[in-house]
């Protein structure tokens, strides 16, 4: 059941403003995105069309609290087929970014952010790895890249770790 009393009329404009969200209002609900989606093919709980419709209807809480928002694999099968030319995967990504702003960030992403803050890369480079690389004749790589932390501080994204 959809109760429009719960609708937040500003929600869709917030998404339109975000990088990748610009195409939202063009959606006429044809469902090509859902029909093309490889994730939906195997798990019907994920439906990009539904996420976009709920966003247009302003049902912010339903969108942001749904675990299925995060099921998008960002594979762009939908982007290729949208008859309205919406970059659908980027639109879903914009909604994810908004969800993070509002305090809904999956733990896995927080862990990755923490790793990037500490090392500038996702996998720790241990002495064992460096020795293995040397044995194979592969060049040495940096264990940490501190410039990445500087970027994370600059964009303010580290607030995600405090929530």
């Amino acid at each position: 059941m959809i109760d429009l009393k719960e609708s937040d009329p500003q929600f869709k404009w917030e998404i339109v403003k975000k990088e990748g969200g610009e195409g939202l209002l063009k959606c006429f609900g044809c469902s090509d995105c859902a029909a093309s989606c490889p994730v939906r093919y195997f798990n019907e709980n994920y439906n990009p069309r539904k996420i976009i419709r709920l966003t247009l209807l302003g049902l912010k809480d339903r969108v942001l609290t749904s675990p299925f928002l995060w099921f998008c694999a960002h594979c762009h099968a939908c982007t290729e087929r949208c008859p309205q030319g919406i970059r659908v995967a980027e639109l879903i990504n914009a909604i994810k970014n908004y969800a993070v702003d509002q305090g809904y960030c999956p733990e896995g992403y927080k862990m990755q952010l923490d790793l990037l803050l500490k090392m500038g890369r996702l996998y720790e480079v241990e002495d064992f790895d460096l020795k293995k690389r040397q044995r194979l004749g592969l060049p040495a790589i940096d264990k940490t890249i501190p410039d990445v932390a500087r970027i994370l501080e600059y964009t303010g994204i580290l607030k995600v770790l405090q929530k």
């Binding site: 960002h74 993070v100 996998y123 194979l136």
Partner: protein, 286 residues
């Protein structure tokens, strides 16, 4: 001689050294020089879902480093290719450029970003590769897996065909192997969903493993470390979940190409493949 900056990303240099090793050895054999990028970091893609701008700035910094070396970029991971390509576009947008500059970074000249395999296709070419093959892999039946960010989104890349890709099939055939035509070629491996819902991700990976099995493929060829995580590292999980036995080796394309160029198993890092490609080696040897 063709010279490129090689962007390794996070996964390849630590978890897929056989991909890196085979790519470097194949490049050498084909007269391509790969120059490492000092100070290169994660491409930024893991942060895209959290904050696109953060991801783009991390990516932009990496291609700026290549720009300062006056070299175009080749990458080994599909997602790195997409992220760096996104940033390359953004660097022409005024607002993004000014944020980038505020971080004290410079981008002296526009650089091209391409997947290593795309570079092989475009700059070396199928004919030259075919001529360089010393040991045609004539009896092998290979299933080429492209992954998503090799050719999608098409408005970003303008390369190959987003619905019916063919370049990797052509590259596989250039080694002398058969490249199988099969349904759902552009199916996603499920890698991006693995951290969110393992069941869905394994089901997605299983789909293509099952097709490979039904088609009697000797091996699956991948060009992305995430796809390989799904098809190779998680193959046992898919077998257990669906009660099947696959045992399908997953080779990186430069490993396959390297074997056909006469590079030995050590030179393409075959001992690091988790599912041992012994049957493939037997077929090649006879």
């Amino acid at each position: 001689m063709n010279r490129y900056a090689i962007f390794l990303g996070c996964t390849v240099p630590v978890r897929a050294q056989h991909y890196e090793l085979s790519a470097r050895n194949v490049a050498r054999a084909l007269g391509v020089e790969l120059v490492d990028i000092p100070g290169a970091s994660c491409c930024g893609f893991p942060m895209k879902a959290v904050d696109a701008e953060t991801a783009l700035l991390i990516a932009a910094r990496n291609i700026a480093l290549a720009s300062q070396m006056d070299l175009d970029v080749v990458t080994l991971c599909n997602s790195c290719t997409a992220m760096l390509s996104d940033a390359q576009v953004q660097l022409n947008v005024k607002e993004f450029r000014s944020k980038f500059k505020k971080l004290g970074m410079s981008y002296p000249r526009e650089v091209k970003v391409r997947h290593f395999v795309r570079m092989l296709y475009e700059d070396i070419g199928i004919e030259n590769i075919r001529k360089a093959v010393k040991k045609p892999l004539a009896r092998l039946k290979i299933m080429a897996h492209y992954g998503c960010h090799y050719m999608r989104p098409s408005n970003l890349y303008g390369f190959d065909n987003a619905e019916m890709p063919h370049t990797l099939d052509e590259l596989v055939r250039a080694t002398g192997a058969e490249s199988l035509e099969y349904a759902d070629k552009k199916m996603c491996c499920g890698g991006s969903v693995l951290g969110i819902d393992e069941e869905t991700a394994i089901t997605m990976a299983n789909h293509k493993l099952n097709i490979a099995h039904e088609n009697g493929a000797d091996g699956l060829v991948s060009i992305c470390p995430f796809c390989t995580v799904m098809y190779e590292d998680n193959q046992r999980k898919a077998e257990a979940r669906f009660g099947r036995h696959y045992g399908i080796p997953v080779l990186y394309y430069p490993q396959l190409l390297g074997l056909s160029l006469g590079i030995d198993g050590n030179g393409v890092g075959l001992k690091f493949n988790r599912i041992k490609p012994d049957a493939i080696l037997d077929k090649i040897a006879t």
